[in-house]
Amino acid sequence: MCLAVPGKIIAVKERQIATVDVNGNQTEISIRLTPEAKQGEYVLIHAGFAIEIVDEDAARETMRYLLEIMQYEDEKQ
């Protein structure tokens, strides 16, 4: 439940809302908890909010790991 997914900020809009790309899918999140996050940066997203700014390598690595788990879970089903 405390799982967080990495995403790249594509655009920062009004009221600390940002469009992010999470593994090719675009969604809207709030960057209220990471107010200094900028376009082009990577963030960890949890429950619709960015909770931490992370560097690109850490973001990619985390995404790779999450995809691996999901694939494994699918095979288990």
Partner: protein, 355 residues
């Protein structure tokens, strides 16, 4: 690969009896999935603690939520994990099939939106989770205050992790030599609380990531401290967790919530471990708004979740495990929640052992 093997080698060289505990549902799953447990020598035990927010929620609190959806004509928005958690005689899923308007959401912002789209109706978000999740809920409450959204409220079952860890360390029946500390909770609260715990109770605490290599490294760091008779807070997961955590997120928790005693399944009532909305935010507190009383604690018959959550037994030692309790027919929350210890053990157990 080489590094992984050398870590594993160093861990396997340990000859003393050592129990390490992990306190995060994501670790529970990651460890079960990685097969690390099977690779460790039999003298090193990896226990699962109270790391799944759904699992540690007390029976009385679950019944309180059920009371709310039964009595009030509201829209309840909840994380999916809560739907099937058994309360006394019912669950949210059952209440929904009886007509209650219960919706699954991924973010408290879904509830804010629902409140704006349904101005004639009360929308309640079921707030559950540890420090990773609570800032998001706090931020949504603050947003509702700024925008003056009158029909939004939160039923807070939020808890904070460090007091539960203290309770574990203080329990003489539970033998823990070191803690594998939760990575994403750490991202918010930082290293400080773990440093404090380590020095206060003389047990090493290492914030650890979720990949197999991270977990091996975390275990290795704990063993090194134990060997040197040290007890420090350390951060293995530096690529994500800053030592200072996220001060903005912590600030929001403190702005919106205050600590209260809370009952944890398996651990009982722990002082200052629960989070209630501060009086300034009282109008967003669903418990106050709808006057939901504290409910009596009615345990689930035969379920040993309390002992599982404190590492006193492992899931397979519960008499119901895999027999009358399976993920398809779960008896307790540790089997319902995807990241509960019983569910993780069951899911990754070799097929031939499933009955």
């Amino acid at each position: 690969m080489k590094y992984k093997l050398s870590l594993l080698q160093a861990i396997q060289d340990e000859t003393r009896n050592i129990s390490l505990m992990e306190v995060c549902g994501t670790h529970t799953m990651a460890i079960a999935r990685s097969g690390i447990r099977e690779l460790l020598p039999s003298n090193i035990k990896l226990l699962s603690g109270p790391g799944c927010p759904v699992c540690v929620t007390s029976q009385g609190d679950i019944d309180g939520v059920l009371e709310l959806v039964r009595k009030q004509d509201i829209i309840l928005i909840t994380f999916g994990d809560m739907m099937r958690v058994p309360g006394t005689g019912s669950s949210l899923e059952e209440e929904r099939s009886r007509g209650a308007d219960i919706r699954i959401g991924y973010s408290p912002r879904d509830a804010l939106r629902a409140a704006q789209e349904n101005p004639g109706k009360e929308v309640v978000f079921l707030g559950i989770g540890f420090e990773t999740t609570t800032p998001a809920i706090g931020a949504a409450i603050e947003e509702a205050r700024e925008d003056g959204i009158p029909n939004f409220s939160v039923f807070s079952l939020h808890k904070i992790v460090p007091p539960a860890l203290e309770a574990l360390f203080a329990d003489a029946e539970i033998k823990i030599d070191g803690l594998i500390c939760p990575g994403h909770v750490g991202a918010v609260i930082g290293l400080g609380p773990f440093e404090k715990l380590a020095s206060q109770y003389g047990k090493p605490c290492v914030i650890t990531g979720f990949e197999t290599l991270d977990i091996l490294e975390g275990i290795f760091m704990l063993l090194q401290q134990i060997q040197k008779a040290e007890a420090r807070g350390e951060n293995q997961y530096k690529r994500i967790v800053r030592d200072q955590g996220n001060p903005v997120a912590m600030g929001l928790i403190n702005q919106v919530f205050e600590t209260v005693p809370a009952r944890w399944r398996g651990l009982g009532v722990i002082p200052a471990s629960g989070l209630k909305l501060r009086p300034e935010y009282a109008r967003f507190d669903a418990r106050r708004k709808f006057d939901i009383p504290e409910m009596e604690e009615i345990p689930i018959k035969g379920c040993a979740c309390g002992a599982v959550l404190t590492g006193k037994i492992i899931p397979t030692e519960c008499a119901l495990f895999g027999r009358s309790c399976t993920p398809l027919q779960p008896v307790g929350p540790c089997m319902v929640s995807h990241e509960g210890s019983c569910a993780a053990y069951y899911r990754y157990m070799p097929l031939e052992r499933k009955k």
